[in-house]
Amino acid sequence: MRRDDQAGRKLSGRRPHLMDEWRDAFVTELRLRDVPGAQVGEALAEVDAHCTDSGQTPAEAFGDPVSYAAARAADLVVEPRRMPLRIAWMSFAGVAGALAVLVGTDAVAHRTQGELTLGELLTLALAPPLIAGIAALAFRPGAGRRGPVLVAIGAVVTMAAAGVSPMIWPQVVVTLPGPVLLATGAVLLAAAWWRLTSGRAFADRVVDPRSGQEPFPLPRWLLLLLRFGPPAVLVLAATVVALVPHTQP
C-alpha cells in the first residue's frame, strides 16, 4: 500500500471542497492570462492525476494556485493579450449598433430623418474605452475574484451616464436617413454578436483531455441567455420605439 494512501483517505472528506477552491482559483488565473481552454484543461488534468497518485491536496503538491498558474502560463504558448482591445471593439459595436438600430427604426417607423444628438455621440466615443479600461483593470492577472463586481459597477455607471448624457446635450449633430442607420446598426450588431458568441464562453471551453468533458460546464440557460438575451432585448426596444408616437415637436 502506498504510504500516502492513508493520508489521502483521511483527507478525502474535505478534499473535494479544498480541491474545488484551488481549481477555481487556478483556472481563473490561467484564463486571466489568456491561456487557451484546451491547455487549461490539460494543466488541470495534470493536477488531478498527480494528486490522485500522490494522495496530496493540490495546495500540498503545487503550492499557491495563483503562483502555479503564473508559472504554468509562462511556459504555455499563449496568444498576446488583446482583451481590452476586444472588449473596446465589442462594446463600441454593441452600443453604436443598438443606437443606430433604435434611431433608424424610429425614423423609418415615423417617416422622419434619423437624428443623433451630441450626448449620444459622446457616449459612443467614451463608453467603449471606459468599459475596456474597467475590464482590463478588473480582469488583470492576479486580480482574483473582485473582477466581476468591478465590471458590474462600471457597467451600471456607464449605462447611467449613457442615459443621462443625451438629456444634458440634446443638440442634434448628425442627421441621416433611417434605412442607412438601420443597415449600419445591423452590421455593427452582427459583428458584436459574432464576437460575443465566438468568444471564450461559447467557443474556447475548458475540456478535460481524459474524458473529453467540461469540468466546469456553464448552465444551458445561461448560455441561451448570453446568446439570445441581447438580441431579444433589442427587438423589444425597437418595437416599443416604432409603436410609440412622437411627442416632440
Binding site: A43, A49, H50, G63, R210
Partner: protein, 114 residues
C-alpha cells in the same frame, strides 16, 4: 538514500537532465518521475516545479505526452522521449560528464580539508 537538502540552484541546473534521464528508461507519468527523482536522493520535487518543466520539454519537442486510462483512476499523462530528446540527452550527458570532471578537479576532497 538519506534525504539531503541540495542547494536550490544545483537542482535547478540538473533537474531537466535528470528528468530526461528518467525518461530514457521508457515512457512514464509525472508522479512516477517525481518518485524516481526522490529515490535517487534528489529530494521531493514538487508538482509545481515538475510539470512546468515537462511542459517546457514538450514545447521544445524533446518529449511527447499522451493520456492513458489508468486501472481505477481517470487516467495519467505519460511522457516519452522523442528522437530529438534522445539526442539532446546524450549531448547533455556528455557535457555533464565533462562538467563534473572539471569541478571535481577544482573542488578539494573532504579528507584534504581536514
Amino acid at each position: 538514500m538519506q534525504e539531503v537538502r541540495w542547494p536550490g540552484e544545483w537542482l535547478r541546473g540538473v533537474l531537466e537532465l535528470c528528468v530526461l534521464g528518467v525518461l530514457a528508461d521508457g515512457p512514464t507519468y509525472g508522479y512516477a518521475i517525481a518518485q524516481r527523482l526522490a529515490d535517487a536522493g534528489l529530494g521531493t520535487v514538487k508538482g509545481g516545479t515538475l510539470y512546468p518543466l515537462l511542459a517546457r520539454l514538450d514545447a521544445d519537442g524533446l518529449v511527447q505526452s499522451s493520456w492513458h486510462a489508468g486501472e481505477g483512476g481517470p487516467g495519467r499523462k505519460y511522457f516519452a522521449l522523442t528522437a530529438a530528446g534522445r539526442r539532446e540527452l546524450s549531448a547533455r550527458a556528455r557535457l555533464w560528464g565533462q562538467f563534473v570532471e572539471g569541478t571535481w578537479r577544482l573542488v578539494p576532497r573532504e579528507e584534504e580539508m581536514q
